[in-house]
Symmetry: C2
Subunit: 189 residues, 2 copies
DNA sequence: CGCGACGTTGATTTGCCTCAACGATTGTGG
DNA sequence: CCACAATCGTTGAGGCAAATCAACGTCGCG
């Protein structure tokens, strides 16, 4: 039984004890050291990972041969390459631990088959997906509507404390600009 | 019975005839004239709309007091303000018909209650949500990894013919740059 | 016809990137 | 334990791509 995850689920749906039990039996605990990879290009994403503790980043190598971070994953977030899962195709990106990280893997096949036994679990994942979609829609809005500086200020407000956890160049990449520019931003005040 | 929609659903899940019947009974056909609004800021989004025919755009007014288009909706796409639906809060954006448009409204309450009667419908919407999320994740990747020009070329390749359907200034807004810049792009070749 | 909506083109400005050099810190091997 | 390399952040100078501002052309429609 994994309390952190069950607590998270409880916010959205009320599972019966035996359902929670069944669900937890399918999970696999993974521990990653700093800089260890969870996924690399060319591999199939195995399933969805729930971050119990730590921090991951998902990124790809862009045309300029630099790392472009798509997003971070922190405590109580689900991470995965949904593109790989949905289309059952090999991934084009990396998922890597930024810190020492503990995750729970829910294998994709298990996830789908659990939906028949635990309908509320499908409701839960449908809701998670909707939340993720809303978040990325908002993010697109921010990219087009805010200056780089506003985006940085907004990000630090949205995730106070998180800025301290990752190197600045990763933050810059995630926000879509250069480490130098971020450095100048911070120098300004 | 609405064939276009049922055909679309059939690609993902196999409903029983009586389920399809029950589902269609909940739908409400809406017709919009060009420039008519489906949603405005301050209103609650009523549910998900399936575009049978026509084209819509979803946009908000940004800080420079210009319209920022979030995305378009065309035939066989579901559109909605998911943020409004998910959090049951009033919308901050507009949805407007770009052309004369026919839509099917699935009220949010009906949608949720149908999930109990037709479990496969929840599977369908979970999948739609995942597809939408993947699409917007990809889009974020494109924004950071491609130049404006590449993004324009990519968009026209992805949706051939669509470019002709909407004014250039809308296309420019959706791609995240100015109408003048798009004009210069097109002049280049 | 005359107005408004849309697209084009030119001149100027500006925000961010690039390139480069230099510190500070951390980690590692002799 | 120290020397050295690697990693990460800072700062300066210069360049460029796209935005802005502005004027003009064209089409469609009341």
């Amino acid at each position: 039984m994994y309390r952190e995850l069950l607590d998270h689920i409880k916010k959205y749906v009320q599972l019966e004890p035996h359902e929670a039990q069944l669900f937890c039996e399918k999970l696999e605990l993974k521990k990653l050291k700093k800089k260890e990879f969870l996924l690399e290009p060319g591999r199939l994403c195995k399933g969805n990972y729930f971050v119990v503790k730590g921090c991951t980043r998902q990124f790809f190598i862009n045309k300029k041969l630099t790392e472009q971070i798509i997003h971070f994953g922190i405590e109580n977030w689900w991470i995965a390459d949904q593109d790989s899962l949905l289309n059952n195709q090999s991934s084009t990106c990396y998922i890597q631990a930024v810190e020492e990280t503990e995750l729970l893997l829910l294998n994709e096949k298990d996830r789908i088959s659990l939906f028949k036994e635990i309908p509320l679990l499908e409701t839960y994942f449908r809701t998670m997906m909707q939340k993720s979609f809303v978040a990325s829609q908002r993010r697109i809005g921010y990219i087009f509507n805010m200056t780089e500086e506003e985006r940085y200020r907004h990000f630090t407000k949205l995730f106070p404390g998180f800025v301290q956890r990752v190197p600045q160049y990763m933050l810059a990449s995630c926000l879509g600009f250069t480490p130098q520019f971020l450095s100048r931003l911070r120098a300004k005040k």
